[in-house]
Amino acid sequence: MPEPRTDLDAARRRLLDTDFARPLPDTVVLTVRGEIDTLTAPAFTAAVTELADTPEPTLVVDLTGVRFLASSGLAVLINAAHRVETRGSRLRLVAVTRAVLRPLEITGTEQLFDLHADLASALAGGSD
Protein backbone atom coordinates (compact mmCIF):
# COMPACT_ATOMS: atom_id res chain seq x y z
CA MET A 1 0.00 0.00 0.00
CA PRO A 2 1.76 3.10 -1.23
CA GLU A 3 1.53 5.81 1.34
CA PRO A 4 -0.18 9.02 0.25
CA ARG A 5 2.21 11.92 0.61
CA THR A 6 -0.45 13.95 2.41
CA ASP A 7 -0.35 11.55 5.37
CA LEU A 8 3.29 12.36 5.93
CA ASP A 9 2.65 16.08 5.48
CA ALA A 10 -0.22 16.00 7.96
CA ALA A 11 1.95 14.11 10.46
CA ARG A 12 4.71 16.71 10.04
CA ARG A 13 2.35 19.60 10.74
CA ARG A 14 0.92 17.81 13.75
CA LEU A 15 4.38 17.15 15.18
CA LEU A 16 6.27 20.40 14.79
CA ASP A 17 5.55 24.09 15.03
CA THR A 18 8.11 26.88 14.41
CA ASP A 19 7.80 30.66 14.92
CA PHE A 20 10.14 33.60 14.55
CA ALA A 21 10.00 36.70 16.75
CA ARG A 22 12.12 39.82 17.28
CA PRO A 23 11.35 40.76 20.89
CA LEU A 24 14.37 43.06 21.19
CA PRO A 25 16.52 45.00 18.74
CA ASP A 26 19.35 42.85 17.32
CA THR A 27 17.68 39.70 18.62
CA VAL A 28 15.86 36.90 16.80
CA VAL A 29 14.08 34.10 18.65
CA LEU A 30 13.06 30.87 16.96
CA THR A 31 10.42 29.10 19.05
CA VAL A 32 10.02 25.39 18.37
CA ARG A 33 7.23 23.22 19.74
CA GLY A 34 6.65 19.52 19.25
CA GLU A 35 8.85 16.60 18.29
CA ILE A 36 12.05 16.85 16.27
CA ASP A 37 12.66 13.55 14.54
CA THR A 38 13.37 12.14 11.08
CA LEU A 39 9.92 13.26 9.92
CA THR A 40 10.14 16.85 11.10
CA ALA A 41 13.92 17.31 10.68
CA PRO A 42 13.54 18.98 7.24
CA ALA A 43 11.20 21.68 8.64
CA PHE A 44 13.44 22.11 11.68
CA THR A 45 16.53 22.36 9.45
CA ALA A 46 14.85 25.03 7.31
CA ALA A 47 13.87 27.09 10.35
CA VAL A 48 17.28 26.86 12.05
CA THR A 49 19.08 27.66 8.79
CA GLU A 50 16.87 30.72 8.35
CA LEU A 51 17.75 31.78 11.89
CA ALA A 52 21.48 31.29 11.35
CA ASP A 53 21.22 33.34 8.12
CA THR A 54 19.77 36.40 9.84
CA PRO A 55 22.25 39.23 10.42
CA GLU A 56 21.16 39.98 13.99
CA PRO A 57 23.93 39.34 16.51
CA THR A 58 21.77 37.59 19.13
CA LEU A 59 20.16 34.32 18.06
CA VAL A 60 17.99 32.24 20.38
CA VAL A 61 16.31 28.87 19.82
CA ASP A 62 13.57 28.37 22.40
CA LEU A 63 13.15 24.60 22.81
CA THR A 64 10.94 24.80 25.91
CA GLY A 65 8.06 23.13 24.06
CA VAL A 66 10.13 20.36 22.50
CA ARG A 67 9.10 16.90 23.65
CA PHE A 68 11.55 14.87 21.58
CA LEU A 69 14.94 15.58 20.01
CA ALA A 70 16.53 12.97 17.75
CA SER A 71 20.15 12.97 16.61
CA SER A 72 19.06 14.44 13.25
CA GLY A 73 17.76 17.53 15.06
CA LEU A 74 20.78 17.69 17.32
CA ALA A 75 23.06 17.65 14.26
CA VAL A 76 21.15 20.67 12.89
CA LEU A 77 21.70 22.59 16.14
CA ILE A 78 25.39 21.68 16.21
CA ASN A 79 25.88 22.93 12.63
CA ALA A 80 24.07 26.17 13.46
CA ALA A 81 26.22 26.65 16.57
CA HIS A 82 29.36 26.30 14.47
CA ARG A 83 28.06 28.80 11.90
CA VAL A 84 27.14 31.33 14.57
CA GLU A 85 30.54 30.82 16.16
CA THR A 86 32.30 31.81 12.92
CA ARG A 87 30.55 35.19 13.37
CA GLY A 88 32.09 35.46 16.81
CA SER A 89 28.83 34.75 18.62
CA ARG A 90 27.20 31.86 20.47
CA LEU A 91 23.86 30.23 19.74
CA ARG A 92 21.58 30.54 22.77
CA LEU A 93 19.27 27.66 23.60
CA VAL A 94 16.34 27.67 26.00
CA ALA A 95 16.28 24.05 27.16
CA VAL A 96 14.13 22.83 30.00
CA THR A 97 12.88 19.36 29.17
CA ARG A 98 14.81 16.16 29.69
CA ALA A 99 13.94 15.34 26.06
CA VAL A 100 16.29 18.17 25.04
CA LEU A 101 18.81 18.26 27.91
CA ARG A 102 19.57 14.54 27.91
CA PRO A 103 20.66 14.33 24.23
CA LEU A 104 22.89 17.39 24.74
CA GLU A 105 24.38 15.86 27.87
CA ILE A 106 24.96 12.34 26.57
CA THR A 107 26.63 13.57 23.39
CA GLY A 108 28.77 16.07 25.27
CA THR A 109 27.57 18.89 23.01
CA GLU A 110 26.25 21.19 25.76
CA GLN A 111 29.37 23.34 25.70
CA LEU A 112 28.69 24.35 22.08
CA PHE A 113 25.71 26.42 23.22
CA ASP A 114 24.75 29.04 25.78
CA LEU A 115 22.08 27.15 27.69
CA HIS A 116 19.27 28.96 29.49
CA ALA A 117 16.40 27.73 31.65
CA ASP A 118 13.96 30.36 30.38
CA LEU A 119 13.56 32.88 27.58
CA ALA A 120 14.03 35.93 29.82
CA SER A 121 17.47 34.73 30.83
CA ALA A 122 18.36 33.90 27.21
CA LEU A 123 17.37 37.44 26.15
CA ALA A 124 19.34 38.95 29.02
CA GLY A 125 22.42 37.13 27.75
CA GLY A 126 25.29 35.49 29.50
CA SER A 127 25.10 31.83 30.31
CA ASP A 128 23.28 30.06 33.12
Binding site: M1, P2, E3, D7, L8, A11, L15, E35, D37, T38, L39, F68, L69, A70, S71, S72, L74, A75, R98, A99, R102, P103, I106, T107
Partner: protein
Protein backbone atom coordinates in the same frame (compact mmCIF):
# COMPACT_ATOMS: atom_id res chain seq x y z
CA UNK B 1 21.51 -15.04 18.10
CA UNK B 2 21.03 -15.17 14.36
CA UNK B 3 17.25 -15.09 14.09
CA UNK B 4 15.37 -11.90 14.77
CA UNK B 5 12.05 -13.52 13.94
CA UNK B 6 11.47 -15.28 17.19
CA UNK B 7 12.94 -15.17 20.64
CA UNK B 8 15.17 -18.14 21.35
CA UNK B 9 13.75 -20.70 23.81
CA UNK B 10 16.05 -19.37 26.53
CA UNK B 11 14.51 -15.95 26.13
CA UNK B 12 11.00 -17.31 26.13
CA UNK B 13 11.52 -19.12 29.40
CA UNK B 14 13.65 -16.69 31.35
CA UNK B 15 10.80 -14.45 32.36
CA UNK B 16 11.07 -11.78 29.65
CA UNK B 17 7.72 -10.37 28.66
CA UNK B 18 7.56 -9.79 24.95
CA UNK B 19 5.84 -6.96 23.08
CA UNK B 20 5.92 -6.92 19.31
CA UNK B 21 4.81 -4.04 17.08
CA UNK B 22 4.51 -4.26 13.35
CA UNK B 23 3.92 -1.10 11.31
CA UNK B 24 4.33 0.03 7.72
CA UNK B 25 7.98 0.95 7.32
CA UNK B 26 7.13 4.65 7.42
CA UNK B 27 8.70 7.50 9.36
CA UNK B 28 5.17 8.69 10.20
CA UNK B 29 4.69 5.68 12.50
CA UNK B 30 7.97 5.88 14.43
CA UNK B 31 6.44 8.26 17.04
CA UNK B 32 4.07 5.42 17.95
CA UNK B 33 6.91 2.93 18.35
CA UNK B 34 9.02 5.24 20.50
CA UNK B 35 5.96 5.99 22.66
CA UNK B 36 5.63 2.25 23.31
CA UNK B 37 9.35 2.03 24.13
CA UNK B 38 8.98 4.87 26.59
CA UNK B 39 5.91 3.33 28.20
CA UNK B 40 7.53 -0.09 28.60
CA UNK B 41 10.64 1.44 30.17
CA UNK B 42 8.56 3.52 32.60
CA UNK B 43 6.58 0.46 33.65
CA UNK B 44 9.82 -1.48 34.11
CA UNK B 45 11.02 1.20 36.56
CA UNK B 46 13.79 2.55 34.36
CA UNK B 47 15.21 5.80 35.68
CA UNK B 48 14.18 8.95 33.81
CA UNK B 49 17.45 9.27 31.89
CA UNK B 50 17.30 5.61 30.84
CA UNK B 51 13.70 6.05 29.64
CA UNK B 52 14.77 9.05 27.58
CA UNK B 53 17.78 7.16 26.21
CA UNK B 54 15.74 4.11 25.21
CA UNK B 55 13.13 6.28 23.49
CA UNK B 56 15.85 8.04 21.52
CA UNK B 57 17.72 4.81 20.72
CA UNK B 58 14.57 3.10 19.43
CA UNK B 59 13.77 6.16 17.33
CA UNK B 60 17.27 6.18 15.89
CA UNK B 61 17.22 2.45 15.09
CA UNK B 62 13.79 2.62 13.46
CA UNK B 63 14.63 5.74 11.43
CA UNK B 64 17.81 4.06 10.20
CA UNK B 65 15.90 0.96 9.13
CA UNK B 66 12.98 2.81 7.50
CA UNK B 67 15.62 4.51 5.33
CA UNK B 68 16.70 1.20 3.77
CA UNK B 69 13.31 -0.57 3.85
CA UNK B 70 11.70 -1.83 0.68
CA UNK B 71 8.66 0.21 -0.41
CA UNK B 72 5.39 -1.03 1.13
CA UNK B 73 7.27 -3.33 3.52
CA UNK B 74 6.84 -3.61 7.28
CA UNK B 75 8.91 -2.55 10.23
CA UNK B 76 8.83 -5.06 13.04
CA UNK B 77 9.97 -4.08 16.47
CA UNK B 78 10.16 -6.60 19.32
CA UNK B 79 10.73 -5.59 22.93
CA UNK B 80 11.94 -8.19 25.44
CA UNK B 81 11.31 -6.66 28.84
CA UNK B 82 13.46 -8.11 31.64
CA UNK B 83 13.77 -7.01 35.25
CA UNK B 84 16.89 -4.91 34.74
CA UNK B 85 16.96 -4.27 31.01
CA UNK B 86 15.04 -4.10 27.78
CA UNK B 87 16.28 -5.75 24.61
CA UNK B 88 14.95 -4.43 21.30
CA UNK B 89 15.03 -6.13 17.92
CA UNK B 90 13.95 -4.00 14.98
CA UNK B 91 13.86 -5.36 11.46
CA UNK B 92 12.81 -4.42 7.94
CA UNK B 93 12.84 -6.10 4.55
CA UNK B 94 15.17 -4.30 2.17
CA UNK B 95 15.02 -3.46 -1.51
CA UNK B 96 18.30 -5.20 -2.30
CA UNK B 97 20.26 -8.03 -0.76
CA UNK B 98 23.27 -5.73 -0.45
CA UNK B 99 21.43 -2.93 1.39
CA UNK B 100 23.48 -1.92 4.40
CA UNK B 101 23.04 0.19 7.48
CA UNK B 102 25.87 2.67 7.55
CA UNK B 103 27.56 2.84 10.91
CA UNK B 104 29.89 5.76 10.19
CA UNK B 105 27.21 8.41 10.81
CA UNK B 106 26.60 10.84 13.66
CA UNK B 107 23.28 9.09 14.30
CA UNK B 108 24.97 5.74 14.74
CA UNK B 109 27.52 7.16 17.17
CA UNK B 110 24.67 8.65 19.18
CA UNK B 111 22.88 5.29 19.14
CA UNK B 112 26.02 3.58 20.47
CA UNK B 113 26.17 6.13 23.27
CA UNK B 114 22.50 5.74 24.16
CA UNK B 115 22.35 1.96 24.26
CA UNK B 116 24.46 -0.40 26.34
CA UNK B 117 24.86 -2.78 23.39
CA UNK B 118 23.98 -2.32 19.74
CA UNK B 119 24.54 -4.48 16.70
CA UNK B 120 23.43 -4.79 13.07
CA UNK B 121 22.32 -7.98 11.41
CA UNK B 122 22.18 -8.28 7.62
CA UNK B 123 20.51 -11.30 6.09
CA UNK B 124 20.75 -11.66 2.32
CA UNK B 125 17.50 -13.61 1.97
CA UNK B 126 17.13 -16.17 -0.81
CA UNK B 127 14.85 -19.20 -1.25
CA UNK B 128 11.92 -16.82 -1.74
CA UNK B 129 12.65 -14.88 1.44
CA UNK B 130 13.29 -11.16 1.12
CA UNK B 131 16.60 -9.79 2.37
CA UNK B 132 16.37 -8.15 5.78
CA UNK B 133 18.34 -5.78 7.94
CA UNK B 134 17.93 -5.68 11.69
CA UNK B 135 19.24 -3.70 14.62
CA UNK B 136 19.43 -5.20 18.07
CA UNK B 137 19.96 -3.03 21.09
CA UNK B 138 20.09 -3.48 24.81
CA UNK B 139 19.34 -0.90 27.49
CA UNK B 140 19.77 -1.31 31.23
CA UNK B 141 17.27 0.24 33.61
CA UNK B 142 19.73 2.57 35.29
CA UNK B 143 23.13 3.93 34.47
CA UNK B 144 25.83 1.54 35.55
CA UNK B 145 29.11 3.28 36.34
CA UNK B 146 31.15 3.58 33.15
Amino acid sequence: MTDLDSPSPAETFDGASTVEIRTSASAALIPTIRAVASDLAARADFDLDAISDLRMAVDEACATLVDVAAPTSSLRCTFLVRPERIEVHAQVETKHADAVVSTDTFGWRVLQTLADEVSVLHRPGGDGAAPTVGIRLDKRSGDAPR
